[in-house]
Structure formats: C-alpha cells, structure tokens
Symmetry: C3
Subunit: 204 residues, 3 copies
C-alpha cells in the first residue's frame, strides 16, 4: 500500500515535468492552446502508452483520470507563469531528468508486474522514460532531440535498470531499491552533462 | 438493428470525406498513387485505429473490408474528378467537418460499448474524429494543422460529447441523440469558422 | 519444425537488412550511436510491431531477444565497415528488397496463424514489409520514401500475396510456396527498377 502511494507520487511528478516540457516547446512553435495541451499530454503519457500497447496491458491513463488532470494543471501553470517557465533554462533540464528517472522506474515495475523478463523490463523502463519525448518532437516536427544531441539521456536508464536488476536478485527492499535506481539515473545524467561526456556520432 | 444501419451509413460518409482530404493533400505533395492511397486510408481509419488500440478493442477495419473499399472509391473519385476536388475550397472544409462530427459520434459509441466511462468515451470520440488528420499531417511531414490553426476544430467535439452525455443520462432516444450530437459539432465548427472565433496561442 | 527454422532464418536476414538501412540513414543525418541504433531497431521491427498491435497478437520481439541481438550485430557491422556500407549504393537496394520480400512473407504467415482472412493476411504482409521503413523516415524527419519515389516497392508485395493466396488454395507445399512468393516479390522489384516501370503521381 505504501509502495503504491510512493509510485503514485513519482508518477505525478514525472507527468507534470514532461507535460511542461511538451507545452513549452509547442508554445514556442506557435501552437494554439489545444495543440500545446495535446503535445504536453502526449509527452507525459506517450512513453507509458507505448509500453502498455507493446506489453498488451490496459492503457494506464484510461482508468486513471489524474494524468489528464495533472496535464491540465501543467497547462494552467504554464499559462500563468509563462515568462518564469521560459526563463528556467537549466532548471528545465533538471525537471526533464526527474521525469526520465521516475518514468524509467515506473516502466520497469509495470513490465515486471506483467510477468516480463528483466531484459524486457529494462527496455520498457527506457521506453516509458523516453518515448513521450520522441512523440513530442514528431508532433512539433523536429528531429527527436534524444537521437541527435549525443547526451547521455536515454542511455542513463540502462545503468539504472542494471542497478535495479542486481538489487532485485539480491532481495533488497523494493522501495529503497526504487529510490536508489531513480538517484542513479539522475546522477549519471547530471554528471555526464556537467563533464560534457557524450556519445559519438554514428557516422564519425 | 436500425441503429446499426444508421451507424454504418455515418461511418461510410466519414470515411469517404477523410480519405479525400488525405489523398488531396498527399497529391499536392507529389506523392505517387500508392502513397496518396495510404495517406488517405490512414486519415480515414487512423483515428478509429488509435481508439481501438487504446481501448484494447479489435481494430475495426480488419473485420470490415468496406473501409478499404470506400478508400478505393475515394481514390478513384479523386483521380477522375481531380480538378473538381482541387477547386472545392470551402466545400472541402464542410466535408471535413462532416467527417469530424460523424467519427466523434462513432468513437463515443464504441467506447461506451467497451464499458468505458463517459469521460473516456468523450476523449475517444475526439481521438476518433481527429487523430487520423494528425497522422495524415505527420505522413506528409507538415506540423499538424489542428494544433496550429487556432480554429475550433477538435475542441468542437467536446460540447458535442457533453450534449451526448447529458442526453444519455436523461434517457433520450439514442438515434435522435446521436443526430443531435452530430449537428451540435457541425454547428459549433461552422459558426466559429464564420465568426472567426478562435483559440489563443499558447505563447501569446 | 523445419518450417519454423526456415522462418527464423528469413526473419534474421530481413532484420539485419532493415537495421542496416535505418542505421545508415540515421548516421547520414548526424544522429548519435544511440539514435542510430533506435532508428535501426524501429526500421527492423516496426512493421512487425504494427502488424502485431493491429492483430492483437503478442508483440513478437518481446519474447525473442534475438531481434535486439541482430540489431546490435548490424550496428557493430556498420561501425566497423562504415565506408564499405556507405559505398554500397545499388547493393543496399538489394538488401532492402530482400528485407521487403522476407518480411512480407513473415507477415502473411503470422496473420494466417492468427486466423485472419487472406485479404487481411496480404495487407499484413505489406505492412510488415514496409511500415518499418515509414517509421524510419518519420524518425529521421523525411517524407516517407515509399510514398514519393513512384517505384514499385510496397506494391510489389501485392502480387506476391496473390501468388501465395493462389498456391495456398491449391494446396501447394508451404515452404516451396513461401520461397516462390519471396522470389516473386524480389523479381517484380528488380525488374521494374531496371526497366524504370513506375507508379504515376496522384496529382499528374
């Protein structure tokens, strides 16, 4: 029960963070408020939706109107504090990193709950954390930023998944392990960003 | 039985209208006849397909080859009367509005038939009415027109859904209520279009 | 059993061919190695994934990690022999034609195995053979090449499907029939390519 509450809280934070990132980029592309809302919602729930479709699970947000509600909150927050949100810069990157780490963890848990292997669960964590951002970029007609920027972004989910898998097999307390996994992803993302550690181009 | 026939007729009209809109835009982008056909088919069945995937329902057009047949009819109509279709202008907008209103109603009915809540049904109506157009725009590599044009388009589905929901709880005759819902969406769309009532940009 | 092995072999070859095509185009767009890998994987498994989602079948690569492994092999092959792969030109087209013909056959078999009608099976063959390439083009933000180039590409799957359907009803040995279908698609593609036989534009 306490585990469920913990998961609901990290889902709410991740949804808000991703919705803001979608709304902000759509607004910069001169999308209207409906378009920005849909791009925000797709960014927030797109990864989890693709995960559920691939796993054959019921699509999570259909039975949980709170995801729609959090996107409405993000939209209102953006409309009220637009200048503030647009000036955020680096802070937005922290937001986005938070969403990535939180959704990665949610995706791993959902896949394991559906009886997936640990390999599939780690892949589903990465998809949950990153596919919404790819959908956002396709909806605003930009090349997906996570494929081009060379940053350690989606790739940061993999060591996170590795840590979770190792701890899971060692029988470590699950909530403690989830928090550790989230922190690992956040740390890898921030440290590689600060130190300019990046992926090579495919066509060097 | 009479209700089923009514639904088949509105589905046929909506399919034809949306297929023509996809074929026309793809042709203008110098797509070949195969490409135009696929864009037309995606525009026509894309919204309902996304709805069925999200609801976990069997994808409607797999067991109903008539949707494919109607797209073939739309393709032949376009090839035979190309100049006529390209000169349509405002009339195309009426076509498109008809497809929107009809598919919105179909989506609401399908979702309720799957046991969805009324909130989910209204969302599924909007998705059925509009997601095909978004897929069309992505396949022709344009920013989705419904996100940018500020017009009351997808948003017109919401009051339609509201009217259906209200009438449904009041126990009004369903065919009468469906026709009313379709007319409400069409009227909102045409009136806001005529009066230049539009949505604000997200980044005003 | 021998039939299953035959299908596994053609799936492996098709996966490698399509993954290389995706990785190569993503690399040319300055995607990083993660981006190129994902585009390669989407090109390779995208068609089969869409087929499985539409049919309501379990998504094939979730229970078969070998598809992921073959994409890793394709990625390593590309990184090691980049200059060689980039100089291939016409040979790449042969690769791609092989993938198309092989995946078309796989898609027909999977759909029939799910109890689909022959019409749906032929459509699913075409989707399995071509939708990965459309996803590739959307992920690299180019208009889908199969919609514009006027070549007999996706359309080559249809006579292949017709041959399979005819042979199936005549009770011809299935492995022999599958090989024939694959050869028919390859021949139609190569002959029309050599003779510059092409589709007309939709807006001639």
């Amino acid at each position: 029960m306490s585990g469920e509450l913990f998961e609901e809280i990290i889902e709410a934070l991740g949804t808000f963070a991703f919705a803001i990132s979608g709304i902000r980029l759509a607004a910069a592309k001169k999308y209207d408020i409906f378009g920005a809302f849909i791009v925000g919602f797709a960014t927030a729930v797109g990864g989890g939706t693709l995960r559920d479709l691939l796993l054959g699970a019921p699509v999570f947000w259909l039975s949980a109107p709170r995801y729609l509600a959090w996107t409405v909150v993000a939209m209102l927050f953006f409309l009220l504090f637009r200048d503030f949100v647009n000036r955020l810069g680096q802070t937005i990157m922290l937001f986005d990193t938070l969403g990535l780490a939180l959704f990665n963890m949610v995706g791993i848990k959902v896949a394991l709950g559906m009886g997936s292997s640990m390999l599939v669960a780690v892949i589903m964590g990465t998809i949950t954390g990153t596919a919404g951002g790819v959908m956002r970029d396709i909806l605003i007609q930009e090349p997906p930023v996570i494929f081009q920027k060379k940053e350690i972004y989606a790739v940061a989910c993999l060591p996170g998944g590795g840590v979770y898998a190792a701890g899971h097999y060692l029988g470590i307390n699950d909530i403690f392990l989830q928090i550790t996994t989230i922190i690992v992803v956040i740390c890898i993302r921030i440290i590689t960003h600060r130190k300019n550690i990046s992926l090579p181009y495919a066509d060097a």
